[in-house]
Amino acid sequence: MPHALGVRLQRIGNAPRLADLAAVILLLALMITFGMAARQMVLPFSLGHAPPIRLAPSALPMYTLRSVARMLIALLASLLFTFTYATWAAKSRRAEMVLIPLLDALQSVPVLGYLSFTVLFFLSLFQGSALGPELASIFAIFTAQAWNMAFSFYQSLRTIPVDLDEASRSLRATGWQRFWRLEVPFAMPGLLWNTMMSMSGSWFFVVASEAIAVGSTQVALPGVGSYVARAIEERNLGAIGWAILAMSIAIVLYDQLLFRPLVAWIEKFRVEQSAAQTAPRSWVLDLLSRSRWIQRLRVPLQSALARVARARLALPEWRLARPKSELSRRFLDIAWYFGLAALTAYLVLRLAHFVRPTLSVGDLRTVALDGAITLLRVAVLIVLASLVWVPVGIAIGLKPKITELVQPIAQFLAAFPANLLFPLAVFLIVKYRLAPAIWLSPLMILGTQWYILFNVIAGASAFPTDLREAAASLRLGPLRRWFGVLLPGIFPYFVTGAITASGGAWNASIVSEAVSWGETHLSTAGLGAYIAEQTAAGDFARITLGVAMMSALVVVMNRALWRPLYALAERRTRLD
């Protein structure tokens, strides 16, 4: 309706309102800060001559900004990866055979394991520029985000409703139109949720990837992580306090400025065509949509974007393929399998060649033993955290008022990089002479236990009212009420939370089993400590062995425990 639009524009007039000013200031501030951070990343830089990290609190805002900018760049890279890799896997049967198992493998490798390998690669790639270490750090954050985003996008592409798919084909949309009009919007809610989870998990790695030492190579990028590393060296408890404060502010801002608005905006992409009871809201989105200036910017921008999405680019066209002859298809398949097998064999041989001269059976035994210790730690910690947080989560989730209050805090705690708190723990362990083998363990789950809490809260608050009322009217005893009604009801949510928590704990083990406070180094036997030690020594064969063992353990745990539990949870809580 072009007329109506014209009328509205006229009525808007020119007088700025408070909302306009606020919105514009917000946008400008964001642009300027990220511009500043980006400019410094490409400045000349040489190892050993980097400006030292200053511990003055006044330096922290800039450091935080740098860390946050890295996060954002990694996020964009992850999105790009998701859109290409997952699309390719979903569109091509042969590519899928390779890409999806590969993604599964990539996902199980500990994030910090990548870092040990990629730092030197990136440093040699961009010698003399800050870009090398920057990219290494960004790549580490990327590995913490990209895999599950790609998985989610791939899953969505594979589950596009048949009717929407047929409609798009019968309307003769090209591959490009289909991608932007059907596939991306359909995948959006799942992708956003996974992006949020990725972000939440990756604050930890921002901190861990800025101050890196692999063998004799030492890098300290300006950022919160390096600030903390310096504070640890100097045993400066006050500086650590400041870092915690700065990080908290950054996380809250990220959430409020980026994710809340997206979550509120994404509501319209949901395929379930019933109005949601409580639509998520965001003050930023409200502000932007209330501001006339922004609205006026939005109209041409939106129509330009729509024009791009509607362009009849036919390049990547995945139409109903004309049936090929069965024989040639069979032949191509066989050739493809053969090629894959040959490539795999070659890679295995290369790896064996690389690893064999330095490794012995004794190494394997060490790694297996260390793996068993860390596995035991993860298992015990997950059980303990569940025993604590499941009852607490249910109790909170059943009271909407308290849920509203606690849920954002739980989500914040899950996002907060727990490694900032490690120095405090070491300080306490040293001060009270506690046994490191026991008291270092809780650090692994310090940051990830909150996933259990907030998933259980979500489950309990989504618990159907009629089922609760039925339990009440049947006057069930407390035992029956918990074990017969509430616990089975939140089971799927608990499993989701526990999977995330256990994955996070494995990742955290690399930094939590060996920690230091100034000259004091505490470490305990475990696979995480093993990888950390070998990284510090720059022994790549042993890093490979340790990382491979950890990946294998993660895969086994997923296959043997989490997937069956998840399948059970899904089957049990369905009524159809």
Binding site: M1, P2, P161, D163, L164, E166, A167, R169, S170, L171, R172, A173, Q177, R181, L182, P185, M188, K268, F269, R270, V271, Q273, S274, A275, S303, R307, R310, R312, R319, L320, R322, P323, L568, R571, R572
Partner: protein, 439 residues
């Protein structure tokens, strides 16, 4: 204008299907026929109905006509040229509306013009015209979730007609709507059609609703099941607007009924004969629906015999919901379907007069006699030492003869009937069948 009298020359042919067969390939790589040897021609000025029960491949046929699926063999010619993919001039209205929830009504309708590469102003003008025509003016900026089912399907219609298609393919467009809404939308569509307000020259309507077919179509083509094949073609030469109370209308409806029920009983017998009866697709009907219909049949005014149409009307039930129950009675030989009426058998009368335990016993006897698959399960269980068998085993067997969704449905029904009859038990968490410990 009376469309039926139009010249039947080759020029007036809109789409032509010749010898079309469609086979799907199962995961086990063996082909599974869905449609065999379909010849169908649509000419200008006619609405052709495609009628058949679920599994008769009518939706597949519509998708082939729309270029969404390609036939395994045979030829599709649209406007005298071979059709391989969705083509300009053909539009589809979907049963589930298939609207993009993230686009507004206007944007959804504009999508219908995306492929034409028109200038934006023209796109906007034509989309608004279509929205206006279909009675949605004022709702341009609404999102689909804000609309009722009927309104959503109107958007579906607007999106289809906005590109001014020559051929309109409608896949059960009214079946997801409530009775009243469906009636309004049907009438509105027919008004546009008879007043020549639509650029469309020909319509193919897939439906399982007999009255809808009789109300809208110039010709009704009946498809049989497993695999889908042409059974009968019934011309409907009533003038429009048509009246349900009309004697002529009633005659057409009963005619279609008898074709369908005859087909159904013949199909049951044929399916029971081949593959040791495993190809028998069981209708998705619960035991309570079976006993409910039996009781209703036994009571006055029916006294054991009733016309299906009247029976349905007496329950205010849609005929498509009654037919599967009737088919189940026929299959279990509690009643007999002949022409358009249903008659209680002796066993059916005994069932009605019995108490719970005797009903179960009778049901068990009939289940094991007339549903070979149930007898087969019992036999396998009896042969095994532990009297248990996994669900998967039977699933695979069924899928040799039925398509995946029919197989799934048949298995669900046999579990439900078997549980009632206490022939076997089924444990869903172990996904296995077993013989109940003590009868």
């Amino acid at each position: 204008m009376n469309r039926e009298t139009q010249a039947a020359g080759t020029d007036s042919i809109v789409i032509e299907l010749r010898g079309v067969c469609k086979r799907f390939t199962r995961p086990t790589a063996e082909p599974f026929p869905v449609l065999v040897d379909i010849d169908l021609t649509l000419r200008e000025g006619e609405i052709v109905g495609l009628l058949g029960r679920s599994g008769s491949g009518k939706s597949t046929l519509l998708r082939i006509a729309g270029g969404l699926l390609s036939p395994t063999s045979g030829e599709v010619r649209y406007r005298n040229a071979p059709l391989f993919s969705p083509s300009e001039g053909i539009a589809v209205v979907f049963q589930t509306f298939a609207l993009y929830p993230w686009l507004t009504v206007l944007q959804n309708v504009e999508l219908g013009l995306d492929a034409l590469g028109l200038p934006s102003a023209e796109v906007r003008r034509r989309a608004n015209a279509a929205i206006d025509l279909i009675g949605l003016d004022g709702f341009q900026s609404a999102f689909p979730r804000e609309l009722s089912g009927g309104m959503r399907q109107r958007v579906g219609f607007a999106r289809a007609i906005v590109s001014e298609p020559v051929l309109l393919l409608m896949d059960e467009p009214f079946s997801a709507l409530d009775v009243l809404t469906a009636e309004t939308l049907r009438t509105d569509f027919l008004d546009l059609w008879t007043e020549h307000q639509l650029p469309t020259r020909s319509v193919l309507l897939v439906t399982h609703n007999i009255e809808e077919a009789a109300l809208m179509c110039d010709r009704v083509v009946v498809l049989g099941s497993n695999p889908g094949h042409l059974v009968a073609e019934i011309p409907v030469s009533l003038s429009r607007p048509r009246n349900r109370m009309d004697a002529g209308f009633q005659t057409i409806v009963s005619e279609i009924y008898s074709v369908l029920t005859t087909r159904m009983s013949a199909a049951v017998q044929a399916q029971a004969r081949v593959h040791g009866g495993l190809a028998l697709h069981l209708p998705n009907v619960s035991v309570h629906e079976i006993s409910g219909l039996l009781e209703a049949l036994a009571e006055p005014p029916h006294q054991g015999t009733a016309e299906l149409g009247k029976l349905a009307a007496s329950f205010a039930l849609e005929i498509n919901h009654l037919l599967p129950v009737a088919a189940a009675l026929h299959l279990l030989e509690f009643a007999e379907l002949t022409g358009d009426s249903i008659k209680l058998t002796a066993a059916g009368r005994v069932f009605v007069q019995s108490g719970t335990e005797d009903r179960k016993r009778l049901f068990r006897e009939h289940l094991l006699t007339f549903v070979p698959f149930a007898a087969h399960i019992l036999q396998i269980l009896a042969e095994r030492d532990d009297h248990q068998a996994p669900r998967e085993r039977f699933e695979l067997e069924l899928e040799d003869h039925l398509n995946a969704s029919d197989a799934e449905e048949t298995l669900r029904v046999v579990i439900s009937w078997g549980r009632y009859a206490e022939v076997f038990t089924y444990d869903d968490s172990a996904r296995s069948f077993a013989i109940p410990p003590a009868r």
